[in-house]
């Protein structure tokens, strides 16, 4: 069941085959870009995420599905409210695989 967290929420998971982080879109698909995410603005809309969580499990495409809280920055871009989800959304904050 989707948790009733404070604030607007989006639904995230990871692709079963690749492990990539994805976000549920308005059209019911999964996007690699947070900006495509469907936003739940009321407790009722958050509740509806339960259906998508069940569908994701059934479809066997996306795993570890859960909602998190988002806000908008000064430019109107969606950003996660919590540092963990910020890191998860943007990828490692360091330059890796370089000498």
């Amino acid at each position: 069941m989707a948790k009733k967290l404070k604030g607007d929420q989006v639904l995230t998971g990871q692709l079963l085959r690749e492990g990539d982080v994805v976000f549920l879109t308005e059209g019911g698909n999964w996007s690699l870009d947070l900006q495509d995410a469907k936003i739940a603005t009321t407790p009722e809309k958050v509740e509806e995420f339960d259906l998508f969580i069940a569908q994701a499990e059934e479809a066997n495409l996306v795993i570890d599905v859960y909602p998190f809280v988002v806000e908008r920055d000064d430019t109107g871009k969606l950003i996660p409210s919590h540092i963990r989800e910020k890191m998860r959304t943007t990828g490692p904050s360091i330059v890796y695989a370089e000498l």
């Binding site: 990871q14 079963l16 085959r17 690749e18 492990g19 990539d20 982080v21 499990e57 066997n60 795993i63 570890d64 409210s81 919590h82 540092i83 963990r84 890191m87 998860r88 990828g91 490692p92 904050s93 360091i94 890796y96 695989a97 370089e98 000498l99």
Partner: protein, 552 residues
Amino acid sequence: MYVYDDFDEKFVRERAAQFRDQVERRLSGKLSEAHFRPLRLMNGVYLQLHAYMLRVAVPYGTLSSPQLRQLAMIATKYDKGYGHFTTRQNIQFNWPKLKDLPDILDDLADVGMHAIQTSGNCIRNVTSDQWAGVAADEVTDPRPYAELMRQWSSLHPEFSYLPRKFKIAITGAESDRAAIAFHDIGIQVLKNDAGEIGFAVYVGGGLGRTPMVGKKIRDFISLDDLLPYLVAILRAYNLEGRRDNKYKARIKILVHETGIDGFKAKVEKIFDGLEKDKLRAPAGEIERIQGFFDLPNYETVEPNPETLTKARSENAAFDSWVKRNVATHKQAGYAIANISLKPIAGIPGDATDEQMNLVADLAEKYSFGEIRVTHEQNLVLAHVKEKELFELWQALVPAGLATANIGAITDMITCPGLDYCALATARSIPIAQKISEKFADQKRQEDIGDLKVKISGCINACGHHHAGHIGILGLDKKGEEYYQITLGGSGDENAAVGEILGPGFSGDDVAGAIDTLVNRYVELRNETTETFLEVVKRVGLEPFKEALYANN
């Protein structure tokens, strides 16, 4: 080095084939995620923050050149061109795809490697001293006993579903480079007055949210009784360790709550009742294993040759590297060359595929084709002729592998933290990078001397912060990262848990705080040879607290 026999080969191939079938069934939907998760974890496959992660076992931290090349190949072909060496002497790949993992396990099996028991509530990879076999202060090479324990613990039917994970470390030296006091079982190889090999056994050590220094449970257990005694400890733990609360499930909690005397009584009772003959290694097995760890055929070479002295006098950077990174070898004319994976402002423990290939080549050229991984996330070439050190160093420099900082402040243990880890509460790597930049000056590092800074990105303490002379713990405060600093920890033979200094710092302020602490140390030390830890022991925490918090 140990080489797989037919049994090992068949066993690892079978497991790879089983995993291939499990992945196929998962991808086709025949296996649910709930059913698949424990299966993938048994093969070292985690789901991390951005991707799957594969942890590959490097038994007691020893690799051959072909094995390291294969790891480089896996990094190139299936990952993003790099791997991360861990505090348990293993290597992790951060970006494998689930669909590729069966092929990766086959590739590992091709070089006698696997990812079995690198996760889950079982006996994990047995770790050891990275200088095993060559350290000047060693009683004997601990690796044959580590290998014996590897064989004994692999898929052990009684100990595959323990209350929680179980880590064993073994050293053959007085100076503890394997942090045995912070393991579920720590073992020190000894010789008695009769010259017989035996083992001092420590139990109940660990880091995490409840750090504990291991307690000695036996002064000397004979080689014959080693495996039966381990069975007795693990059986006592398996029967009485808590399964109702994962945070209280490690053996350290059981030992702490029972008391070492009470726990020892339970272990000894079980031990007395064992049919020991059935639990001992078969006759001749340890001798067979020891045959794989015979020292290489060293040449008779001149110790401290003129060419080395000359190169050191003519090249200050090389001289710094020899001082910091080269250790005394048992064999005259040879040296232990430590390769730092902590370049200034780099990512601690990371190595690119090119670097791995280069080290594999250099190991073949200069060190009998053998590489060691350290629990401090560095590499070692254990058998280098002193007269070839300069050549080796010249080959390491252009690859960014010649940082002269082993044991210095910029040689930090650092967990992956919130840049990769799903459990982390804060980032570790950027903190390490800022500290590294702050202390980049070689002269300053050399003036400071040995100083172990260890950074964890959550209370699980994979970055060993409790054991750091300076420990840094990243936490989450209302959705933002902040960092606690501890002082006085130690992971060696004088193991100690660090104490928290006071209120935490933001990520931007940590490096400055460490700078303040180090400056205070330099002011307080009586002479330049008085180490950071000695000063902390002499003066206590107050002068450091005062330096950090006086203005707040």
